[in-house]
């Protein structure tokens, strides 16, 4: 091994989790190599579309037939257009198998999906961490809120999030900058809900990793709501703009793009992983890199695939897979139930700027009272605006009066959808096809996942509660919906290398450490034991920081 291939730590992946691992490990003095399979994207300098006006983008920002051919899956995402498409993979070059329909949205580049994420950052509570144990479903989390609470604080202080604390036990209060202002309709709904639901259902401004105030030289948000292009004002949290620069500032970071982790190198005698085999995306050459500790942060399916592809006589079914659970228990949220509505009042109120977040109704089902039809719950994202020119597209009208009408602000309209917990199920899973390697020799990933009875019953109630809430708030033309959702499409895939207390039933311990290989940590979504209703990224960040602190401690004690 050459000295240039030797590090203290290797982090696989540079997205939300990998950026945090890089920051924490380098700040604690570890020479750290961050491997990223995709190309480099430099903060600001490479945000090539960030400040383009619609008319400066091809086809006024419309996706083309050629785009849909190259990116048949990615192009179905609401975020996908000419200004963002380069942050998503070419599906033809990166195939995966769908034994059941599974939509896998991916960003293979430095920063990963932290560049395009929806930025909602809520904490989980003990209602979530204790749920599996209380109900005898799935596996118990090996941690509780008290274990992660200081790490939520640690993360929130650094990333700078804005929003409103609900003051509810099921959605713990956070360290937040002041929220973005509600518009007139949202203020109206909030008041009506306070009267009609006596605090049980509340409308708040979502906790969001978007700065409403300047923070550590970043931001504040300039109201563009074009975050997924990359932010020239560093106003939302991304690895590129926040954690990776912090890691680089220590002098301990080596960031290596265009490098696919093929497998982990296992030393049978020492019972430790000694490094990572890496394929250069351009030359297809394999190089080995060595370190005392390895963090897997490549996103759920890819980190799990890396473990499954790391086979040895000790681990014939994949590294750390003594339990047989590796690749199983895949979860995502489901968001099929919701409602739309309009409101003819408040026509004398408007807003200025484009707010880069939603309003939120925290979970209220199965909190104080047990539901009969389903367990767990959901929170709603709520979006409102006044009609724009787009309302003219579907109308039969045209001409001068039509033009005058649609260039004025239209009626208020509202869209809300629930985000519900999905129960862990052994049959929801991913596996590899070693006989079908991709262009870089990495086995193809296959996925099979479906939503089951509990999710379906919950989605129906999501719709009914949305309609009931909007009726109570006095909205008009209320239309509930309960649409079919393809797993994966909420982009919260998680759970395929779950934490637990018992090596017989879980892959990772309470510190995200592979039970049988203590110098390997997995801190992205694959570690999740359940999929609470809240957006998961803040929890990945907190678990990553917590695991990094523990790993450095253990290194110092000579335990790794």
């Amino acid at each position: 091994m050459s000295a240039s291939n030797q590090f203290d730590a290797i982090v696989v992946g540079s997205g939300i989790s990998g950026g945090w691992a890089a920051k924490e490990l380098t700040e604690k003095g570890l020479k750290t190599l961050v491997l990223e399979r995709g190309r480099n994207i430099r903060h600001v300098a490479d945000y090539s579309t960030a400040l383009k006006d619609p008319w400066q983008l091809p086809h006024n920002n419309r996706a083309t037939n050629a785009d849909r051919t190259d990116q048949p899956i990615q192009s179905t995402l609401y975020l996908y257009d000419q200004s963002t498409k380069h942050h998503f993979v070419n599906d033809l070059e990166q195939p995966y198998g769908q034994a059941q329909p599974f939509t896998w949205y991916r960003g293979y580049q430095v920063g990963g999906r932290s560049l395009m994420w929806a930025r909602h950052v809520f904490r989980y509570s003990d209602l979530d961490f204790a749920a599996n144990q209380r109900e005898g479903l799935g596996l118990d989390w090996p941690i509780r809120y008290a274990d992660i609470q200081p790490w939520y604080e640690h993360v929130e202080r650094f990333i700078g999030a804005s929003g409103e604390n609900a003051g509810l036990p099921q959605l713990p209060d956070q360290i937040l900058q002041p929220p973005f202002e509600m518009n007139a309709l949202e203020k109206h709904i909030r008041k009506q809900m306070a009267v009609k639901f006596a605090g049980e259902r509340k409308l708040i401004c979502s906790a969001t990793a978007v700065l409403s105030r300047e923070h550590n030289g970043r931001g504040p948000c300039q109201g563009r709501n074009q975050c997924a292009r990359g932010c020239p004002f560093s106003a939302y949290f991304s690895s590129n703009g926040v954690t990776l620069p912090a890691a680089a500032a220590t002098g301990n970071l080596t960031l290596q793009p265009d490098s696919i982790a093929h497998s982990l190198i296992y030393d049978e005698a020492r019972k430790r992983v000694t490094g990572v085999r890496v394929v250069d995306t351009a030359t297809h050459k394999t190089t080995e890199y060595f370190a005392r500790v390895v963090f897997l942060c490549g996103s759920t399916l890819n980190s799990t695939a890396l473990l499954l592809n790391s086979r040895s006589s000790r681990f014939p079914e994949g590294l750390g897979n003594d339990s047989g659970e590796l690749g199983h228990n895949l979860m995502d949220h489901h968001n099929g139930g919701g409602a739309t509505a309009s409101y003819s009042g408040l026509s004398d109120r408007y807003y200025r700027g484009r707010r880069a977040t939603s309003m939120y109704i925290p979970r209220f089902r199965n909190v104080n009272k047990r539901e009969e039809k389903f367990t767990r719950g959901y929170g709603y994202e709520v979006y409102t605006n006044r009609g724009s020119w787009t309302r003219g597209i579907d109308s039969a009208d045209f001409g001068a009066d039509f033009k005058n009408e649609i260039t004025r602000p239209g009626e208020w309209s509202l869209y809300m959808e629930g985000y519900g917990e999905t129960l862990s199920n052994h049959e929801n899973r991913m596996w590899l096809s070693p006989e079908k390697p991709d262009a870089w020799g990495i086995p193809k990933i296959n996925v099979s996942m479906k939503y089951r009875d509990n999710e379906k019953a919950m989605a129906q109630q999501m719709m009914e509660d949305a309609v009931e809430t909007l009726r109570a708030a006095g909205l008009e033309n209320i239309q509930g919906f309960n649409r079919e959702v393809t797993p994966g499409s909420v982009i919260h895939e998680m759970g395929t290398a779950r934490m637990g207390r018992d090596p017989k039933t879980s892959v990772l311990n309470a510190h995200n450490q592979v039970h049988a290989v203590p110098n390997v940590f997995v801190t992205d979504g694959s570690c999740m034991v359940s999929s609470p209703t809240q957006n998961p990224s803040l929890t990945y960040m907190a678990l990553t920081a917590r695991a990094a602190s523990y790993a450095v401690d253990q290194l110092k004690r000579g335990e790794l």
Partner: protein
């Protein structure tokens, strides 16, 4: 189309004088007339003043399904047969109203009028003229103010 092609496409659209690539000169003549019936000059310029018909020529070739492209060409041909561009303004409106009632029940790809509305509005309101003169547009709003009184002359935001 790869990211590297951005510049080429933008250069193609910025090229002056404009030259149609997808539609014939006769089709472009009808198209120019019809987009101005949809969005005529008011206190802001008409659709053709923002080169909406050239936008449609480029964008429809790149973005529309083969079926929608065919529907649209047939629709232009039908208007051409009626000598749409030579009709008096009232007659143009009458003809397009008839077309609208016939087309509104049809699925998008088979509805000339729906495709026409979609491309005309997208082309115009997201053009520099449409966004900044017919509507209100701020590239960098500078922040978010949630609840303001609506000024009497306030246009809707383009984005």
């Amino acid at each position: 189309m790869g990211h590297a092609a951005f510049g080429q496409v933008m250069a193609a659209f910025a090229a002056s004088p404009r030259k149609a690539g997808f539609f014939t000169a006769a089709e472009m003549g009808t198209l120019q007339t019809v987009v101005d019936v949809i969005l005529p000059a008011t206190d802001s310029p008409a659709a053709s003043a923002a080169d909406t018909h050239y936008f449609i020529d480029l964008a429809m070739a790149a973005c529309a399904s083969a079926e929608a492209q065919k529907t649209f060409r047939n629709g232009l041909a039908a208007l051409g047969k009626e000598r749409f561009a030579s009709l008096a303004p009232e007659a143009r409106v009458m003809l397009l109203k008839t077309r609208a009632s016939a087309d509104m029940p049809l699925p998008y790809d088979q509805s000339f009028f729906k495709i026409l509305k979609d491309y005309t509005l997208t082309g115009y309101f997201l053009s520099e003229i449409g966004a900044t003169q017919a509507l209100a547009y701020e590239r960098v709003p500078g922040g978010f103010q949630g609840d303001l009184p609506l000024a009497a002359n306030q246009k809707a935001w383009a984005l």
